[in-house]
């Protein structure tokens, strides 16, 4: 019929389609403070929503990138207080460094306070470990885009799942070597490329090798270098939603980040308390002690305050950017194929 046809063409030619004529909506945003007139009960929607989300559970996918030996797996285990990284799940600690960058994802279900979370940790062994590291970020970028592609394919189905499985990388921890000097060219190259497709949180690994002054100076230098190179790490300035966000995030961006961290999954007795730490001849480094390192800041930032935001920025911005680009490319199936779960098992 007539109107359907024109809408079809309009949709295809990407003109802003005219929605069908609705009856006149006299938008009268009358600001009525309902509590003055008697309790209605619309504030119960918060509880209703909370109950529903608890029931469905959450997904979170975190990627760790950095040269081997920087303590990536340990840090992730420390973050989630559990053996969730690749190294803890039955792989040989003595295994050889791979000749190319590999992507290894491992998932666990963890629960706390009635909240169920499917946590996937994506490790990238081989990154930065070769003699020639040119383009070693490419397999990583490819993996990230493949997850967007998977989601997109599911989203455009006619009959689609109630909840589309989310394998997209919500957060990428980039481990900077604590040289104390400056960022390496590889660090800059990686972050330049990937900050456009994923939320990157740079961390300074093994920060127990620097004194407080060295740490402060190094952080300042790193921040400057990132700024000079136009690298927007998470939380990105352009996505601050309101003044409150901006104030909070400015402080994090300009003072706290990059977090200088130490990881450990061993506990020691300090002042009568059991703490996570690293034992050295000159003392015990307490991981969760803010005067020793910034691990607790990283943990609070990633898990306790910004976890949902990391997911939302991934979904509303990075994914949308990918989708818009894909749909704009004329005649465009991507050259990459998405491997299915069946293929995965055979790789073992």
């Amino acid at each position: 019929a007539g109107p359907a046809e024109t809408k079809n063409e309009a949709a295809m030619s990407e003109l802003v389609p005219e929605p069908r004529q609705k009856p006149v909506v006299p938008m009268k945003p009358v600001g009525i403070n309902a509590s003055l007139l008697g309790y209605i009960g619309i504030d119960t929607i918060i509880e209703q929503m909370r109950k529903k989300t608890m029931k469905t559970g959450f997904d979170f996918n975190i990627m760790v990138v950095g040269q081997s030996g920087l303590g990536k797996s340990t840090l992730v285990n420390t973050l989630f207080k559990s053996q969730v990284s690749r190294k803890s799940s039955g792989w040989n600690r003595e295994e050889k460094i791979p000749k190319t960058v590999e992507i290894k994802a491992i998932g666990h279900v963890i629960e706390e306070g009635g909240v169920k979370m499917k946590l996937t940790v994506i490790d990238t062994p081989g990154f930065g470990d070769q003699i020639n590291n040119e383009n070693c970020w490419e397999p990583i970028e490819k993996y990230i885009n493949e997850q967007y592609e998977k989601f997109l394919k599911e989203e455009v189905n006619i009959a689609r799942k109630k909840r589309i499985p989310d394998t997209r990388v919500h957060c990428c921890l980039y481990f900077i070597s604590p040289t104390g000097h400056s960022l390496r060219p590889l660090d800059l190259e990686f972050m330049k490329h990937l900050s456009k497709v994923v939320n990157i949180i740079p961390v300074i690994a093994k920060a127990d090798t620097m004194t407080l002054e060295e740490k402060t100076e190094f952080k300042q230098r790193v921040r400057k270098e990132l700024e000079v190179n136009g690298i927007e790490f998470y939380p990105q300035k352009e996505f601050d939603e309101d003044l409150e966000d901006k104030t909070e995030n400015d402080k994090i961006r300009q003072e706290s980040m990059p977090f200088a961290v130490v990881g450990s999954d061993k506990e020691y007795q300090v002042n009568g308390k059991r703490v996570l730490g690293r034992k050295t001849p000159w003392g015990i480094i307490e991981v969760e002690n803010l005067s020793h390192c910034e691990f607790a800041l990283l943990r609070d930032f990633v898990i306790r305050t910004h976890l949902q935001d990391l997911k939302e920025v991934t979904h509303n911005i990075h994914y949308e950017t990918y989708r818009a680009k894909r749909l704009n490319d004329n005649g465009g199936l991507p050259p990459m194929t998405v491997e299915t779960e069946e293929n995965h098992e055979s790789n073992l």
């Binding site: 359907a4 938008m27 119960t44 706390e112 909240v115």
Partner: protein, 424 residues
């Protein structure tokens, strides 16, 4: 290459050795929603005079603007108004849509159509946004109808056929909550019979009304009980009367006062509880995951898209989009080609015409030329003959002159002779 291994999926979870802090996740999510604000859209379907606006005023404790409708509407229309309500830290954008003139016409065959079209239009608007290349779904003002309150006239007998027809058309598109309006017109015993009759008619006609969900243990019991009380018999009133020592919403009759919020008098409290305080989020979720998905699926199939082809590569919306676009372009090209052919044809024809004309001209020219030549020849011949005559004349003249001169010489003497002879 990569692989994903899931350990502990479904049953065994990995133990945590301390407090991680992701139990704050629901709070993080809820806080973001609160900052964003919520939308809730109610559609009231019912005949004029059944108290739709009054009930909305009563439910939301306020007087929404608007005058009562007349009975002389030519057709069914929908009137929509949006309000911003705030309670604690919750900002709700409430949209109330009401039918105007429903049931007033003599011929009600098409009465349901504007309602269905309105509901579809909201789905369509959302779908269009979702299909855009550059879209802003998380900031989209959702106008899809989350709940449809169907007002049944308190006749006490049974559902009207208009009600059955309309509800049947709406039940796959919206969550229907049937209510008996102005139920203070029916006695308690009649009400029970009425409810049973309505429920059985709905069932026998296959009308799917909204069921309050019973899958979550915390609300399963109350929802289950409430399901049995449908359709809710309601009364609306914004007038407050002093009953005892409290001010209450009520309607005063000579024989007594009907209290709106008294559960022994009517089901208003039940309606408010179910619609707002317990299931508002579920109504929104069902609208999005069930009704909207159905609309979307039907619409896309209608437009010619399809999902996985079982024996070959999966078709994606994008691919079919591309295929359709190419098809369209192909059509365009064909048309272009046809037009070009026609143009070429016309040119050829015109050329032929012109050639004909040219030929004629040439022929004419040739004819004229020949004529001219003939004329010229004639003239030349004439000229020649004239010349010949002139020459002949000249010859004769020369001959004559010669003769004359000869004659003169001889004739001089001749003449003298003649003259002498004359003298003699």
């Amino acid at each position: 290459s990569y692989f994903i291994v899931f350990q502990g999926e479904g049953c065994r979870t990995v133990p945590l050795s301390g407090h991680v802090g992701f139990d704050s996740l629901p709070d993080q999510l809820v806080n973001k929603s609160v900052n964003h604000g919520f939308c809730f859209n109610i559609l009231c379907v019912g005949e004029t005079g059944l108290g739709k606006s009054t009930l909305m005023d009563t439910l939301f404790n306020t007087k929404f603007e608007g005058d009562p409708a007349s009975h002389s509407q030519p057709g069914v229309q929908l009137k929509s108004s949006t309000y911003d309500l705030q309670e604690s830290n919750v900002n709700l954008k409430l949209t109330i849509v009401s039918t105007v003139g429903f049931g007033d016409q003599i011929n009600k065959e098409d009465s349901y159509k504007p309602i269905v079209e309105f509901i579809d239009a909201q789905f369509e608007a959302y779908l269009q946004e979702e299909l855009k290349i550059r879209r802003v779904l998380h900031n989209y003002h959702d106008t899809r109808i989350h709940a449809c309150l169907y007002f049944i006239a308190p006749t006490g007998h049974s559902l009207k056929s208009l009600d059955l027809v309309t509800m049947k058309k709406l039940d796959s598109k919206v969550n229907i909550i049937p209510i008996i309006a102005k139920s203070d017109a029916i006695s308690k015993s009649e009400l029970t019979k009425f409810k049973i009759k309505i429920t059985s008619e709905l069932v026998s006609n296959g009308v799917q009304i909204y069921q309050f969900p019973t899958d979550d243990e915390s609300v399963a019991e109350i929802n289950g009980t409430m399901n049995a009380h449908l359709p809710f018999a309601v009364i609306g009133s914004t007038e407050e009367l002093k009953i005892g020592n409290k001010m209450m919403k009520a309607r005063q009759y000579p024989w007594g006062t009907v209290q709106v919020e008294n559960e022994a008098h009517c089901d208003f409290v039940k309606l408010r509880e179910m619609l707002i305080r317990v299931n508002m989020e579920d109504l929104r979720e069902q609208t999005h995951t069930r009704h909207y998905e159905l609309y979307r699926r039907c619409k896309l199939e209608e437009m010619g898209f399809k999902d996985t082809d079982p024996d070959s590569k999966p078709f994606s919306l994008q691919e079919t989009y591309e295929a359709k676009r190419n098809e369209f372009l192909g059509e365009l090209q064909k048309k272009e080609e046809a037009m070009r052919q026609m143009f070429v044809q016309r040119v050829k024809e015109k050329e032929a015409e012109l050639k004909e004309a040219e030929k004629e001209l040439h022929e004419k020219f040739d004819r004229l030329k020949k004529l001219h030549q003939d004329e010229k020849k004639k003239l030349e011949d004439k000229k020649k003959s004239l010349d010949d005559e002139v020459n002949a004349f000249k010859q004769r003249k020369t001959a004559a002159e010669l003769l004359q001169s000869q004659a003169q010489q001889a004739g001089g003497s001749q003449t003298l002779k003649r003259d002498k002879e004359r003298k003699k």
